[in-house]
Symmetry: C2
Subunit: 493 residues, 2 copies
């Protein structure tokens, strides 16, 4: 066997271990009785350790040096193997283990601290997490030649660095300062939305979510929809597991959540099957993944076109007064702009503000320019500067998200890059398929999903974020498509 | 670290891989959409391969030679490590892979062959399976010093060989020849059982099964009850997964099935937690495992005592006429003796006949004394000799069980050894706790389960099958306790 063939076998085993872990994570969230948690931790740690051992085994460096690949796909695959090996070997085992322990310990304390809105309680644990992240960033920086924070960002969305994000975010801040009051004024001049009256039977919600996910193209011979406290998309490309949670008094949260996760799931389902379990066959980073969930949830399903289809279906499903289900009312209800404290509840217009402030704070924490102790104050200043509001407590401020407390620094930009990419892809899809909105108005997502399958899903990781966009839309990330989308949706009286 | 400490770490990783596989097997049976099957195969093969690599790594032989253990538990643990290593290294990797492929291929064809009752269709695949099993038996024989078929049996119930089983089975055959017609005559003289009239709502059956499993001691903080085509007990000791299947026209199948699986589950739950993921902390073989399911299902739950509790509960659950739920009627219904073709439907009296004939045939196949082509004829002769019936087709004959077609030779004796051990343990438990039947009549299984926990569950694999029985009952396996149980239950007018 050639060195490259050996490496392909090795990476397929690593990927199979990752798939097994993915399933066990899903099970832990959706199925596992509480008493299984400790053993599950052992199982996952063992699988992660064995995967790391396979990736960093002594013979791999030589094989990677020796390996030769021909053809674009294999050349990209080999480059991704080298990248994975470089990042995995950059961190000493002792540091990886210390991070695993510190992150797990901090996350546990964070749950209590958030519940009590008591930042001081988690401060020592977060100081340790940040200290280790800075060590890791330095080690990754040495290995990759990237700046330390860039080296962390690169772990979530390969190739996207702080210098790419900074000007985009600065421009958005300017746009928002003007757009937000205008959107609010326009909104205030319109009739107030009428909320549908519950209760909404869970069984009906479940059937609705399932049928809309199927309508969007999710094939339940290769997917499941279950329940968990925190909705997510997990599993593997041929066996995707999405979750949601249901509330009797509100169907929108589960419905729109399922459509969001369906976007993620369709991406996984559309990855190139002939490249399964090879790095080049995987999804192309977190921002790309988020673009696929948001194009389904935000761009397609909250569009005027789709709401014309969805409104009558909802009324038929839940009965009662028809007024709340009028498409215009659903649009006012589900596209409501508000200056809120909580990122995950934010609208499309203000969401980037939440991301921008986190990006700046996490960067300052890793650079050592911001002490953990000063985080609550810096947070509150930042959100006040952008949205003019001050969190009444840290639970609604710097304690709200799990990311940092779980050791994820450099992830947040992916949300907004994904939202922007979704707008850009939607524009290109509309250009490619002039009847796309007519299809959406009939509840037919096939033209959109078909276009995404060809241009994004089936590409795997053959291209990075910018080249994927360039190939699909003719240009790299262009935030103007996002602001144009927002202008049309929120700033047009 | 000492060699023994290194080995403990290694075996804990191997066990964690096994736990992960167990969960993925459960998922495949109870949750997985059909499209996930191929990827699941890759995941399981990778985990099995990595586990095998860990067990057979070059340094292990040296560590096992060097390792020293003190204290009964560690001495037993080290011996079990040596045994596992010996068996794993005995088989060349190429043979293991060939068996895996041949078994999987044969099992697939067997499903069609059974459905069509067409032995010829699966004959070539079974010939290959048997050929490889004979190779494996020879290799294991060389390594262990056991006879070839004994080396296969030893893989399912360590320490129990054909010479242990043969006289037990021969004696049972003599007992049965006399007992069966007598039991039939006694049964014929009694009123015919009145079957409860359905339909029995699945939701009510589900709740009943759950509550009876909980009553038997299963803690659902550490367990789940789900559905699958073939009921089983899987998962891990702190997260046991049992399954059943429900039919609207019959509640007994799921109810008694769940009680059977609960017996398995309680054994796993009661294994010594401080020895988790070490060989000595595992269950002590398949016959021991079966004794724990059968003591709950057959000995306890079909006893006159427990039926006095269960009858009224069933009537309360399902309503309707009370006569079918009278304890005496349930006894006549659920302890009905009949000469049937199907092992899994057999009663306690005739079940061993099904096992005895399989044991003799599989032994002859492995010895080369019986050709695969002659299996259907040999089967039909054997069952006619013991039960006086002739299968109308091979689906009800030699095609009925998956075991051989999946490469499991030497497993069948465990069923009957387990049934016999269950009777012996029940007698000892009654002696130890004279109020045990009074408790059962109140639906209280705690005295029985508590006794099993102390004498069997908590012992892990510290002792083999015979020593476990000796410690718990004062003697090794004594089939007289089983025939005494059968005599009391079936031969007393």
């Amino acid at each position: 066997m050639t060195a490259y063939a050996d490496l392909k076998t090795r990476f397929a085993r690593i990927a199979a271990l990752g798939e097994a872990s993915g399933m066990l994570h899903w099970d832990a969230a959706a199925m596992m009785p509480p008493g299984g948690a400790a053993a599950r931790g052992e199982q996952l740690a063992t699988l992660a350790g064995l995967g790391h051992d396979l990736l960093t085994a002594p013979e791999v460096a030589g094989q990677l040096g020796e390996a030769e690949a021909t053809g674009a796909s294999d050349i990209a695959n080999l480059a991704l193997m080298r990248r994975a090996h470089l990042r995995a070997t950059a961190l000493p085992t002792a540091l990886v283990e210390a991070m695993t322990r510190a992150n797990a310990a901090c996350e546990t304390v964070w749950r209590e601290a958030r519940a009590a809105s008591d930042f001081a309680r988690v401060q020592p644990a977060l100081i340790e997490v940040v200290r280790l992240q800075r060590e890791a960033a330095a080690a990754l920086s040495d290995a990759t030649g990237l700046a330390p924070f860039d080296a962390l960002m690169d772990g979530f969305q390969p190739g996207i660095l702080a210098a790419d994000v900074e000007p985009v975010f600065a421009a958005y801040e300017v746009f928002l300062a003007d757009a937000l009051p205008r959107a609010e004024a326009i909104q205030a001049a319109r009739p107030a939305p009428i909320p549908p009256q519950g209760p909404f039977a869970i069984a009906a919600q479940r059937a609705l979510c399932r049928s809309l996910a199927a309508r969007a193209g999710l094939d339940f011979d290769h997917a499941r929809l279950d329940e968990s406290t925190h909705p997510f998309c997990g599993g593997t490309p041929t066996d995707v597991r999405i979750t949601t949670r249901y509330r009797e008094d509100d169907f929108a949260q589960s419905l729109l959540g399922v459509l969001h996760e369906t976007g993620h799931a369709l991406y996984e389902r559309g990855l190139p099957a002939h490249l399964a379990r090879q790095p080049v066959g995987e999804a192309a980073g977190m921002a790309t993944h988020e673009s696929q969930s948001l194009i389904v949830e935000m761009q397609a399903c909250r569009s005027d076109s789709f709401l014309r289809f969805l409104g009558p279906l909802l009324h038929e499903t839940f009965g009662g007064d028809s007024a709340p289900y009028a498409p215009e009312n659903l649009a006012r209800l589900w596209r409501r702009v508000s200056r809120g404290f909580i990122r995950v509840d934010a609208d499309e217009l203000t969401y980037p503000a939440h991301v921008i402030l986190r990006f700046r704070l996490e960067r300052a924490l890793i650079a050592g320019d911001l002490a953990v102790a000063d985080l609550p104050g810096a947070w509150n200043e930042a959100i006040h500067a952008m949205l003019g509001i001050t969190p009444p407590d840290d639970a609604r401020g710097c304690l709200q998200d799990i990311h940092w407390y779980d050791g994820a620094f450099g992830y947040f930009p992916s949300y907004t890059l994904g939202a922007m990419a979704a707008a850009q892809l939607m524009r290109a899809a509309r250009n490619a398929s002039p009847t796309l909105d007519r299809s959406l108005a009939q509840g037919d997502m096939a033209p959109l999903i078909g276009w995404l399958r060809g241009n994004i899903h089936s590409q795997g990781s053959r291209f990075g974020f910018q080249d994927l966009l360039r190939n699909a839309t003719g240009k790299p990330l262009d935030p103007a498509d996002y602001t144009a989308h927002l202008t049309e949706r929120y700033l047009t009286a």
